[in-house]
């Protein structure tokens, strides 16, 4: 290795280092302005096409969004969810060929109470986001985390689908027809039970009028929330709790406002980190649902993740090149050390490994694709006891073996 007259006899392939002065690999005319992955250099126009096409292809390949459906977009203000919002705008705009056809709504959950922000900071962040939302002209809902205390217990149950889930053998077209049929039936016959259910749910929660912030929260609510989070000792568990509460709030809003689908803005990198940290937390049984494209565990509301094919690098480049405004809002783990929580640790591990082995994130992503995504059968009568109360996934602990599995063969000394 260190010999002076060592000869490299042509074994090492000479691979040209990717240079940006190359031509775009797609149109081969314009000069490339950025490089994605190992050697794909794109020019501006081709990159935009590539980005938009990926979004449409992701929605088109997994045909779960029916035309005319109400879809709730969960936006946190970060680059990925704002990018998703702009993609939806692109897709719905009039001049797009084969434009998407669904009715979007936006939800933002203000969790400043849990991360210890002051009211002024929270109001500022909300105002910034509101200006972004207003520019889109979609209905939006701003929900505060403090409203968790007034959620009904129906969020802990998987509802039966309002539209009966068609057999998997049916083609997409038939499923769409079925969907439109059931909606017409609901509107015509004004299905009393469904309406009653909806209004009942609405009256239980605090009144939400579309396009307005909910009634101002009192300091007592904020204190109650802070007490709840202070009672959880480790940051890992706090982040887990925050995630669960957010899911419940989104689910509740979707149910009361009549949304049947929720779009989350998780990018490929974020999902790889989530997969690894879920394995470390012991959530192997529900991995497929937590990181797959569609999450059908709630029955009537399906969660989809259309951004799961984008790495955070691509999203960052796109936002920068096309001036998509994103708002940074500090969360629970901002400025936390590497070892403060399992999620933080996993994030730093994956990003460091990615620099040495550039295929890490995509390999983890492909592993998650091969995992089982089928949801448990819908006969809730027999299966009620077999679902976890908080995350509504099938239980992976058996009562009989509880000493063996739960404590994993730890003797109680």
């Amino acid at each position: 290795m260190c010999q002076v007259d060592e000869e490299y006899n042509g074994q090492l392939e000479h691979r040209g280092a990717p240079r940006v002065s190359k031509k775009c690999v797609k149109c081969k005319e314009n000069t490339a302005v950025l490089i994605i992955r190992a050697g794909d250099a794109f020019c501006r126009g081709c990159f935009k096409d590539y980005f938009i096409h990926k979004f449409r292809a992701m929605l088109g390949k997994n045909r779960v969004i029916f035309p005319g459906e109400k879809v709730l977009l969960a936006v946190s203000g970060g680059p990925a969810s704002i990018s998703m919002l702009s993609q939806v705008q692109e897709g719905l705009s009039r001049d797009a060929p084969k434009k998407l056809r669904f009715v979007p709504g936006i939800i933002y959950i203000d969790d400043g109470g849990a991360s210890g922000q002051s009211m002024e900071e929270r109001k500022r962040a909300v105002a910034q986001l509101e200006s972004v939302f207003r520019a889109t002209n979609y209905h939006y809902h701003i929900v505060h985390l403090e409203q968790v205390s007034s959620l009904p217990s129906s969020v802990l149950e998987a509802g039966s689908s309002a539209t009966e889930k068609p057999e998997t053998g049916l083609s997409y077209k038939a499923a769409v027809d079925h969907f439109i049929q059931t909606r017409k039936n609901q509107n015509q016959h004004s299905d009393l039970s469904v309406e009653n259910g909806q209004s009942h749910l609405s009256s239980l929660s605090m009144q939400e009028v579309q396009n307005e912030v909910t009634s101002p929260i009192t300091p007592e609510h904020t204190q109650a929330l802070q007490r709840l989070f202070a009672s959880v000792r480790t940051l890992t568990a706090k982040e887990d709790l925050l995630h669960t509460l957010r899911q419940h709030l989104i689910l509740h809003t979707a149910r009361t406002q009549g949304y049947t689908k929720v779009m989350m803005g998780d990018s490929c990198s974020r999902l790889a980190i989530k997969l690894l940290s879920n394995i470390s937390l012991g959530r192997g049984a529900s991995l497929a649902m937590d990181t797959g494209f569609s999450d059908p565990r709630y029955g009537d509301v399906v969660i989809v993740r259309p951004m799961r094919d984008y790495s955070s690098k691509e999203i960052a480049y796109y936002n920068r090149m096309f001036d998509i405004p994103s708002v940074f809002i500090p969360g629970l783990d901002t400025k936390a050390q590497d070892k403060a929580s399992i999620q933080r640790l996993t994030e730093s591990f994956v990003t460091k490994l990615q620099t040495d082995f550039p295929s890490t994130v995509s390999t983890i992503y492909r592993t998650s694709e091969k995992l089982h995504t089928a949801c448990p059968p819908q006969n809730t009568n027999t299966q009620l006891s077999a679902k976890c109360l908080l995350c509504v996934c099938a239980l992976d602990t058996k009562l009989g073996d509880c000493i063996f599995h739960l404590n994993c063969n730890t003797l109680i000394t």
Binding site: M1, E6, Y8, Q11, L12, T234, T236, L275, L276, N278, I279, S280, L281, G282, R283, G284, A285, L287, A288, D338, K339, A340, S341, I342, L345, T346, F349, L353, T360, T363, I364, R366, T367, K370, L371, H372, T373, A374, D396, F404, H405, C408, N409, T410, L411, T413
Partner: protein, 343 residues
Amino acid sequence: MPVLCSSCAEKRAVLKRPKTAHSLCKECFFWAFEEEVHQTIVSAQLFKHGETVGIGASGGKDSTVLAHVMKVLNERYNYGLKLLLLSVDEGITGYRDDSLETVKRNQQQYELPLKIVSYEELYGWTMDAIVKQVGLKNNCTFCGVFRRQALDRGAMMLKVDKICTGHNADDVAETVLMNVLRGDIARLRRCTAISTASEGEGVVPRCKPLKYAYEKEIVLYAYFKKLDYFSTECIYSPNAYRGHARTFLKDLEAVRPSAIMDVIHSGENLSVREGVKMPVQGTCGRCGYISSQALCKSCVLLEGLNRGLPRLGIGKHHRLHEKILSQQPLTQVEERKLKAVNF
């Protein structure tokens, strides 16, 4: 105020258990550790009465503790097993020759018969020679594949019914994480099983009685029992990919000690979608060993080494199996790709 043992509340506590953070005295800790291994063996029904069991002994802490605990439990609970020590000599100077001395001492201390098989006599190659050809990366593949076959051959020579290895909870958790990082779905499904499949010719089933024992507890047990073991790590290990998974796991344990068990639990509950291509078990065309391809991995690796094409076993090479089986020469391009990269 001295801290009392939380189990017997009589003696002073001398250690804090890594798994549960209980403070325990020596005897209670020994009892807890041995009982847990006993529970693992009994509930997974690892052994039958009257079987001959080979203990894979390397002289390191895991196999020394395994040999000791197996001997203790065999007598205490009357398993009725006949125990032997089985050791593999990979030919790594400065590491394996020293640890083999430890195994020979173990043989006298535990009064168990010992058999040593070496790579030199089985394959004609030592690990040192292999590393000289292959380089510092990817040599763990050779060592691991050859060792597996060596253990099986040694077991067949001794006519044992089962082999047990000293894999601990940390090892299994690292393997789960490594398989996720490398995208190896087939191994991901199998790696958390406590014992391998037991049907087929020439296959000796293998089990891991220490699967739920933390590595730290094994070290504590060996230290307090003053067991004789060899504690240096393999000289080629710093460059292995497993090192990354290991560092991550150690950090996880520092944040939350139960994380190791949680990773194993997640691994056990992973389910793979139907329609994903899985390897099917068959036999090797050349040596008759079990294999999922036309040629078993060790035949491929050996062929590569003997022909001076060390990269033959690394990466995808299924198309070349037929060529090797029929002794055809490889083309220029293929040869060039398979030669070692000299640094």
